[in-house]
C-alpha cells in the first residue's frame, strides 16, 4: 500500500524524468538537426512539468482571485514557465534558422554527412 502511495505522489516527477531523459537521448543519439531540436524542446517542456507540479495544491484552484475560493495554486512557477515557454520558442527559432543555413552550406542536415564533408577537405 505504501508503495502505491509512493507511485501516486511521485508519478509526475517520474514522467518528468522520463521526458527529460528521452529528450537528452534524442539530442545525443540522433544526427538529424531537426530531430535534435525536437529533442531539445522535449527536454525543455519536461522542465515546465518539473516546475508546475510542485505548484499545484490538491483541492486548490487557478490563481485568479475571486470570492468563494480560499486555496489557490502557487502562481510563481506559472510566471516563470510563461517566460520559459516564450524564450524556448525564441531559441528554437534561432536553431531552426541555423539549420536552414547549414542545409544551404552543406546540402544536408545530417551530422554524419556534414562531418564526412569536412574530412574530404572541403
Amino acid at each position: 500500500m505504501e508503495f502505491v502511495e509512493q507511485i501516486v505522489s511521485h508519478y509526475n516527477q517520474w514522467i518528468t524524468i522520463f521526458l527529460m531523459v528521452a529528450g537528452l537521448y534524442i539530442v545525443v543519439a540522433r544526427g538529424n538537426m531537426v530531430k535534435k531540436l525536437v529533442g531539445l524542446s522535449l527536454f525543455q517542456t519536461s522542465v515546465y512539468l518539473l516546475y508546475l507540479s510542485p505548484g499545484k495544491i490538491l483541492g486548490g484552484t487557478a490563481p485568479i482571485l475571486e470570492e468563494g475560493f480560499e486555496v489557490y495554486s502557487n502562481p510563481l512557477p506559472h510566471v516563470l514557465m510563461l517566460t520559459a515557454i516564450v524564450v524556448g520558442l525564441a531559441t528554437l527559432a534561432v536553431g531552426l534558422a541555423l539549420v536552414v543555413r547549414i542545409n544551404e552550406a552543406y546540402g544536408t542536415i545530417e551530422e554524419d554527412e556534414i562531418f564526412a564533408d569536412g574530412e574530404d577537405g572541403k
Partner: protein, 175 residues
C-alpha cells in the same frame, strides 16, 4: 495521470519515428497534451501559452524548415548504446533524487511558504489585478519580463541576420 502516460507514449513515438513530418506532428500532439496537463495543474495561463506557442508557432516554424530541407531522417551510423547508457544513468540519478521530494499537491509543502502567499494576499491591494499570474508577471517581476522581451528581440534579430543572405538568392520562401 492518464494524460501523463499518454505523453510518455507520444514521446516514445517521437524517439522512434524516422519521418520528420511525423516527428513534428507528434510534437504538436505532445504540446497539446502538455497544455491539458497544465490545466489540470491549475496553470491556465501557461496552458494557453503552451497551446499557442508550443503547438502552434513551433509547429509552423518546424514545418517551414522541413519544407526547406529534407523530410526523411538518415539511419545513424553509430550504435545508440553510449547515449542510451548516458540517458539511463541520468534517469537513475534523478529517480534517486525524487525519493526525498515532498509528496504531490500537499498545501504544507515548502514551495508554498515564502513569496507566493504574499503575492496572493497583496495582489488586489497593490496592483488591483485579480489574476495573480498577470500581476506577478507584469508588476512584481516586471524586470524579468523586460529581460524576456530583450531575449525575444535578440532572437528575432539573429534569425533575420541568419536568413538575410539567402533571401537575395531565393526570394520565394522564408522560415
Amino acid at each position: 495521470m492518464v494524460l501523463l502516460t499518454l505523453m510518455a507514449a507520444v514521446t516514445i513515438g517521437i524517439v522512434r519515428a524516422r519521418n520528420l513530418f511525423a516527428v513534428v506532428v507528434l510534437s504538436g500532439i505532445y504540446s497539446f497534451l502538455m497544455a491539458s496537463v497544465m490545466i489540470v495543474l491549475d496553470a491556465v495561463d501557461v496552458a494557453m501559452t503552451e497551446a499557442s506557442v508550443g503547438a502552434g508557432m513551433s509547429m509552423v516554424l518546424m514545418l517551414g524548415v522541413l519544407y526547406l530541407t529534407k523530410v526523411e531522417e538518415a539511419v545513424p551510423s553509430h550504435t545508440p548504446w553510449l547515449p542510451l547508457f548516458v540517458a539511463v544513468g541520468t534517469a537513475a540519478v534523478l529517480l534517486y533524487g525524487t525519493v526525498g521530494l515532498p509528496p504531490f499537491g500537499a498545501a504544507e509543502n515548502i514551495v508554498h511558504a515564502h513569496v507566493a502567499p504574499r503575492y496572493l494576499e497583496q495582489s488586489i491591494a497593490e496592483t488591483t489585478v485579480p489574476n495573480v499570474v498577470t500581476s506577478v508577471l507584469a508588476s512584481y517581476r516586471g524586470f524579468d519580463t523586460l529581460g524576456e522581451t530583450v531575449v525575444i528581440f535578440t532572437a528575432g534579430f539573429a534569425v533575420l541576420l541568419l536568413l538575410r543572405g539567402r533571401r537575395r538568392s531565393r526570394p520565394s520562401d522564408d522560415a
